[in-house]
């Protein structure tokens, strides 16, 4: 644990160091140095602006993410268990995976107007195929001999689901959540840039139109910070908790 913190800290230090070096050697204002960006981050946080915008963005992400998770679980179980659904949905999923986020963003704004619904919709349609594919993989890798075991012991559907099926799906669900969250974030920024009047994406696009690289970098950095906190504060510990039973390789 200690060692990992030290390594991560070193990695961050190297990144910032390289950034600084680049900033120092680049002519004029191509790249503001880390201190200036950090200072404007502090300013954004102290003004309260950051939390207001973060809240707007997170609400959109979470709504879209939750919706697509539910849909993906239903679709994933269906595709994994019923062959007809698998054959029926194969093409739609491939198509869904290949439509660019920008296209969906534009379409949803045209359909739903300049509202939160547009962002939520765009996130849902973009994230769902990706998470579904993950869950289908999980369903396919379920050990049938264990389900047979449960049957031999006359375990009901509920017990089998909770003790046998779900634990085998959890790693895939978590993997799907990781991919889903990162895609949801990229999507929401696009929609906010295109048509909404608040949120982190909007702020980045606003400072872009003001041509303030320092602020663009500061907002990006701040949101990245949030994602890192989600990863190390929520997803990571969750994963360690649900894979407790796996003997850990010593390193």
């Amino acid at each position: 644990m200690r060692r990992r913190i030290a390594i991560n800290f070193t990695a961050a230090l190297i990144l910032v160091g390289m950034w600084w070096l680049l900033a120092l050697t680049s002519p004029l204002d191509y790249l503001p140095d880390p201190a200036r960006v950090l200072w404007s981050c502090v300013g954004i946080i102290r003004s309260g602006e950051f939390f207001t915008q973060l809240y707007r963005t997170l609400v959109r992400i979470m709504a879209g993410f939750a919706l697509s998770t539910v849909i993906s679980i239903v679709l994933g179980l269906g595709i994994g268990w019923k062959r007809v659904l698998d054959e029926l949905l194969q093409l739609p999923i491939v198509v869904g995976l290949s439509i660019p986020a920008l296209a969906w963003g534009m379409l949803s704004i045209m359909w739903f107007g300049l509202r939160d619904t547009a962002a939520v919709f765009a996130i849902t349609v973009l994230v769902t195929p990706l998470v579904t594919v993950n869950i289908v993989q999980g369903v396919r890798s379920i050990d049938k001999s264990l389900i047979e075991m449960a049957q031999a012991f006359r375990a009901g559907h509920w017990l089998t689901m909770r003790e046998v099926v779900l634990p085998q799906l959890l790693p895939y669900l978590l993997g799907g959540a990781r991919l889903g969250l990162s895609l949801a974030w990229k999507t929401v920024v696009i929609v906010e840039m295109l048509g909404l009047s608040d949120g982190i994406g909007y702020m980045i696009s606003f400072w872009f139109s003001m041509f303030s690289m320092t602020n663009v970098l500061a907002w990006t950095l701040l949101f990245t910070g949030v994602m890192v906190v989600i990863e190390y504060g929520i997803l990571g510990p969750l994963e360690r908790r649900i894979t407790r039973w796996r003997p850990r390789a010593a390193f």
Partner: protein, 250 residues
């Protein structure tokens, strides 16, 4: 009380690629309360399928597979020990043993005690909080047995439970199962391809032919217990059974 009557069992299985195999072609046997019955036969002769039918996992057979309990109505409880342990790797040994119990009956506190008792029977009560992946194959096999015993079944089905183990662990577990069987008076149906194992364990040995399997012989083992695997009389029984299976004698 329990009794198993299998009469003229016939089944064909369809593989995922559509190939149909005629697995059982008229298997009949009976097993009584307190009896230790071994079923031997060449690999692929449908021994596992037979147990799966008895466990209710396979239903599209013809013929009869009846399990009779005390009363006409009551179906006897069945414990199944699989060829591989089939444990839930994400649950502790204790939780694995309780799984069967939770499926059948009883409240939470009783559950724990019953499961611990069973782990004690197989000598693993100190490892109750371990996870399967940190256990040896022998330990996992014993958990599989404890899980089946925990539901206090009338009938215990065992599918080559020791075939994956080294000979020393297998020997230990064979004496264990005989001890448990003697104490608890179960009906045990034990499938194996190991003739020496069958002679060591069984009251009666049913010999199955190759696919589609029929009952080709019934051998009653009239050796006093405790038996010794190296008893010359046991070797004679082994020869007889091997003769029935159709293995050439030197």
């Amino acid at each position: 009380m329990a009794r198993v009557e299998v009469d003229n069992l016939d089944i064909s299985l369809t593989a995922p690629d559509g190939r149909v195999t005629h697995v059982l072609g008229g298997v009949s046997f009976t097993a009584e309360q307190n009896e230790f019955v071994c079923i031997v036969g060449p690999s692929g002769s449908g021994k596992t399928t037979l147990l799966n039918i008895l466990a209710g996992l396979v239903t599209d057979y013809s013929g009869h597979a009846n399990m009779l309990g005390d009363h006409k109505e009551s179906r006897p409880t069945v414990g199944y020990v699989f060829q591989t342990p089939r444990l839930l790797n994400w649950r502790t040994l204790l939780q694995n043993v309780t799984f069967g119990l939770r499926a059948t009956r009883v409240g939470d506190t009783e559950l724990r005690d019953l499961a611990l008792d069973q782990l004690r029977v197989v000598g693993l009560d100190r490892a109750a909080s371990h996870y399967p992946l940190s256990c040896s194959e022998g330990e996992k096999a014993r958990v599989g047995i404890a899980r089946a015993l925990a539901i206090d079944p009338d009938i215990l089905l065992m599918d080559e439970p020791y075939s994956q183990l080294d000979e020393l662990s297998a020997r230990r577990l064979r004496t264990d199962i005989l001890r448990i069987w003697a104490e608890r008076k179960k009906l045990v149906i034990f499938v194996t391809h190991n003739v020496a194992e069958a002679v060591y364990l069984a009251d009666r040995v049913y010999v199955l032919s190759a696919r589609p399997a029929k009952t080709s012989a019934i051998v009653r083992i009239e050796l006093p217990r405790p038996r010794r695997p190296t008893d010359p009389a046991a070797l004679l029984y082994q020869d007889r059974i091997l003769g029935h299976i159709g293995v050439d004698q030197p």
